[in-house]
């Protein structure tokens, strides 16, 4: 194990955990054009990504998009067929050399935690602290138990812990040797819905306090948007868009990203000079995000989410379409409306505003932000 040679004394290093990250602009992890083929099948293709010190980046994408494979390549559990991986300025994998997982100083929190069932909580946490003296190890374990707030469970066995507690032990275990990068594989998928929301905040808090650079992988957009500093939307083995969660949500760069985030609908619109003509009326092009002149006379797809639209009761003659489905979510309704033009859109209403399926409605565009749009096709 090389790791303690490039870190300081364990206790001293842990103090830095409480403070902020030293240089938030430094790049800790750099993936450059990495690819992974399984025989003829290509799981990851020409993927590049860089992660800054202390940042929490989430790779978000549908299952099979290559995000877990990417994570395993960073960890050294899979070997890239092409491209370079650098951790902290050190090349750990390129096309002809390759560091083993135990040589990388990368921590992993597994989807099912992979706590060693024959070891107690403290033995699990101490597992990676092989270099330190017994006293130092003990201190470090105590610090981590405090960090994840599990002091009183120190001597318990993993099977005696709840799901959330097990996850915190897994987190503490992977943080103990002070990894350069921490990887989290679908970290909340084994928790029930209520606990999931609670643990998201908890885990983000722990990661921030530890000041560790972390990469998480999920297919749950709410989770990705709520805990990450940046999200990378992945599709079919490559990154579609990377950025601040709000920016990505508001300005999806591709139709795939747009359709993946939120309950997206697309409204086909014909550009006619300063206006666009749609199945729910004519609007000025200023409501769109970015110049659309180049598409004058052509059709574009405008992204509309349920909170951008409102349905208004209407007479048959003036209606834009009919309510075709009602989805009740407790505090709100989402109505699906099929427009006369053939487009299908969704409108969000609070639970007191009720429409019946089959009712004719007019649709108002209530969005107070520029709408993203994409060339049709």
């Amino acid at each position: 194990m090389q790791r303690s040679t490039d870190t300081h004394d364990t206790t001293a290093a842990f103090d830095s955990v409480e403070t902020a990250v030293e240089d938030p602009t430094a790049t800790v992890l750099e993936l450059d054009g990495i690819a992974k083929d399984y025989g003829h099948e290509c799981a990851v293709e020409d993927l590049s990504l860089s992660v800054r010190d202390g940042e929490l980046l989430t790779m978000l994408g549908p299952s099979g998009c290559g995000k877990t494979t990417t994570l395993r390549m960073i960890a050294g559990l899979e070997q890239p067929t092409d491209g370079t991986i650098q951790i902290d300025g050190r090349t750990v994998a390129n096309s002809d050399a390759y560091d083993k997982p135990e040589e990388r100083n990368v921590g992993i929190v597994f989807q099912d935690y992979a706590l060693f069932p024959h070891l107690s909580v403290e033995e699990n946490i101490a597992f990676g602290l092989t270099e330190a003296s017994e006293r130092k190890t003990d201190e470090r374990v105590s610090e981590l138990l405090e960090l994840v707030d599990l002091d009183e469970h120190r001597t318990k066995m993993p099977s005696q812990l709840s799901g959330g507690q097990q996850q915190r032990v897994a987190l503490a275990r992977s943080l103990a040797p002070e990894p350069d990068v921490l990887l989290l594989d679908e970290p909340f998928s084994n928790l029930d819905v209520r606990l999931r929301v609670e643990m998201r905040e908890e885990v983000r808090k722990i990661l921030k306090r530890a000041g560790v650079t972390a990469i998480s992988v999920t297919h749950d957009q709410e989770e990705a948007l709520s805990i990450s500093d940046r999200v990378a939307i992945m599709n079919d083995g490559h990154v579609e868009q990377v950025g601040d969660p709000a920016e990505v949500f508001e300005n999806p760069e591709s139709k795939f990203v747009a359709s993946f985030l939120g309950q997206a609908s697309f409204l086909s619109a014909r550009v006619a000079g300063d206006t666009i003509e749609t199945g729910m009326g004519t609007f000025e092009t200023t409501r769109l995000n970015g110049p659309v002149e180049a598409y004058n006379g052509a059709t574009v797809d405008v992204l509309v989410r349920p909170d951008d639209l409102r349905a208004v009761p209407s007479a048959e003659s003036t209606a834009d379409g009919y309510v075709t489905q009602r989805q009740y979510n407790g505090p709100s309704f989402v109505y699906r409306v099929t427009l006369h033009s053939g487009d299908v859109v969704h409108c969000l209403h609070n639970h007191s505003e009720s429409f019946e399926p089959g009712e004719p409605v007019e649709i108002d565009l209530t969005a107070d932000h520029p709408l993203a749009w994409y060339p049709t096709g």
């Binding site: 194990m1 559990l77 070997q79 083993k100 135990e102 099912d112 992979a114 597992f127 092989t130």
Partner: protein, 541 residues
């Protein structure tokens, strides 16, 4: 790290680094073990090569060969059929009816499996044979003749009684695992209980019954003790006799035929296994409603009681009888039992167990973790252990060692090797099933925390599979203790064990002296059943 570059490149070329592929060393070890285990079969092939074709054909078509083949087929056929006739009703009675004391009958129905069949045969001969307990009991009443126990009837009776539990257990498992609601669905579609059984239950449990039946067939075919005691000429008995008479050619020819039949049975079994995908996988927790026995209750009880009496009470009773009466009249000129025999038994069994678990570990790892073709090798290999009857193995090892490793001949080494070939698959099985329950991410977690692959295995995997390894060792130990034919053929001169002692006493007719070792062996096989049952419960949870 600078020097590591070349190593890393080298390693990368054979893909040892991902942990998902098979390390080369492991594959090499597995192949070496395979070759060793297959070596006895190699002897049979070599022998065939050496023999002149005309002589081989002459031997194959001789009258004796034809007779022995017919005898073997008849014995296997009748025992298998009878085992199904006894085992299936017992399973249905104990699972699906309101039979009184069901739990009790479940236990008694399974228990005859713990009596090694040769001990059962031994007990039956002493009870029903000429001058046996029964005829002595009956002669004052003027009954001079009781039906002959020797030959086909005796062998069939004994083998059926001590093998039907295979059918009972597999059928019971099938009955327990299938969803009761489908029977209710059939009833709701206007089927009577009997119709529903025929059209719904039976097709679902048929693979279970067949699996049990094939186990019985394979056991019967390879069993040496029972037909020998019953003086019924089947392959195993003939091979042993020809071996004793030094007629190796004929023994080899009979061995081929025996192996061919065993392979045929296994082929049927593996086809059945492959086609069983859709069968009894429905995991409904609902039991079908109990069948009310009504006026059939008494006959059902008599049936269960009768089987339990013959398969359990009678042999155990006779052994206990010998034990009590041991001193008087039963002790003959033969050597008395010595503690050294027990020590011999224990030590070879322990050696076989130890070697087996060590050899099993790489094989099990390969079987559990590798998806290459090599990964299926251990499973295929285990068939060798099941398919090659003890007599054939003993015969092959005697001549193989004489020819190539004369220093091993007539030593314990050869004996232990034979046990390992026969029983190591059990250790592979338990170790593999433990490994399969371990999340591969444990090793990945350990490696991400800075451990080398082997250290990670030792610190994380080994402690977790230790119970599986121990269970495998225990199974090998216990089954080795009661192994008969290979032990008889390979025992070093003057090296007596429980088994050889019982055999000698049996041959000379001094039954009383066999009581203690026979009872010990019954207890030993009871223990091995217990190990298997504990493992199954453990795996189920």
């Amino acid at each position: 790290m600078a020097t590591g570059d070349r190593e890393r490149v080298a390693e990368q070329t054979h893909g040892a680094t991902t942990g998902r592929s098979t390390p080369r060393v492991l594959s090499a070890i597995a192949v070496a073990i395979t070759l060793l285990v297959l070596s006895p079969l190699a002897w049979l092939v070599m022998r065939a090569g050496e023999m002149e074709t005309i002589r081989a054909i002459e031997l194959l078509t001789s009258e004796t060969t034809v007779d022995v083949t017919i005898n073997s087929i008849v014995l296997v056929g009748t025992v298998t059929a009878l085992a199904i006739v006894v085992g299936v009703p017992l399973a249905i009675l104990t699972v699906q009816t309101d039979l009184p004391f069901r739990r009790f009958w479940t236990v008694t129905a399974a228990l005859p499996l713990v009596v090694p069949s040769y001990i059962g045969a031994f007990a039956f001969v002493s009870a029903f044979g000429p001058h046996g307990h029964l005829s002595n009991l009956l002669s004052p009443l003027g009954i001079e003749q009781i039906p002959a126990i020797y030959g086909l009837p005796g062998a069939t009776l004994v083998l059926t009684l001590f093998t039907y539990p295979y059918v009972f257990l597999t059928t019971r498992a099938a009955l327990l695992s299938f969803d009761g609601t489908i029977v209710e669905a059939a009833r709701s579609l206007n089927h009577t209980r009997w119709q529903a059984f025929k059209r719904v239950t039976l097709p679902q449990i048929a693979p279970g019954i067949a699996a049990g039946g094939l186990l019985v067939a394979l056991y019967t075919l390879g069993d040496f003790g029972t037909p020998s005691i019953m003086k019924y000429d089947v392959f195993t008995r003939m091979i042993y006799n020809e071996f004793g008479a030094q007629r190796i050619d004929y023994a080899a020819v009979l061995s081929w035929l025996l192996l061919a039949m065993a392979v045929a049975i296994l082929a049927v079994e593996s086809r059945l296994e492959a086609g069983r995908d859709g069968a009894y996988v429905s995991r409904g927790s609902r039991r079908p409603g109990e069948i009310k026995l009504g006026r059939w209750k008494l006959p059902a009880l008599l049936f269960c009681g009768g089987v339990a009496t013959l398969g359990l009470a009678l042999p155990i009773g006779i052994l206990l009888h010998w034990l009590v009466r041991g001193g008087i009249g039963y002790q003959g000129a033969g050597r008395a039992f010595e503690l050294a025999f027990a020590w011999n038994s224990l030590s070879v069994a322990a050696a076989a167990a130890l070697v087996s678990v060590v050899v099993a570990l790489p094989l099990a790892y390969l079987a559990a973790r590798s998806d290459t073709r090599l990964g299926s090798l251990p499973d295929r290999l285990s068939y060798v252990g099941y398919a090659v009857p003890g007599v054939v193995l003993g015969l092959a090892l005697v001549y193989l060692s004489l020819k190539y490793v004369p220093f091993a001949y007539n030593t314990v080494i050869l004996l232990v090797f034979a046990y390992v070939v026969r029983f190591m698959p059990q250790a592979v099985g338990t170790t593999k099933s433990s490994l399969l329950q371990i999340d591969p991410s444990y090793v990945e977690a350990a490696r991400s925390l800075g451990y080398q692959p082997l250290t990670a295995f030792r610190k994380v995997v080994l402690p977790l599979i230790a119970p599986g390894i121990a269970a495998g060792g225990a199974l090998v130990f216990l089954t080795t203790m009661k192994e008969l034919p290979a032990t008889l053929m390979l025992q070093p001169f003057g090296f007596e064990t429980f088994v050889t002692y019982i055999w000698r006493v049996q041959e000379s007719g001094y039954y009383g002296q066999a009581a203690i070792p026979a009872l010990v062996l019954v207890v030993v096989s009871g223990l091995s059943m217990l190990v298997i049952l504990r493992r199954e419960q453990h795996n189920a949870t």
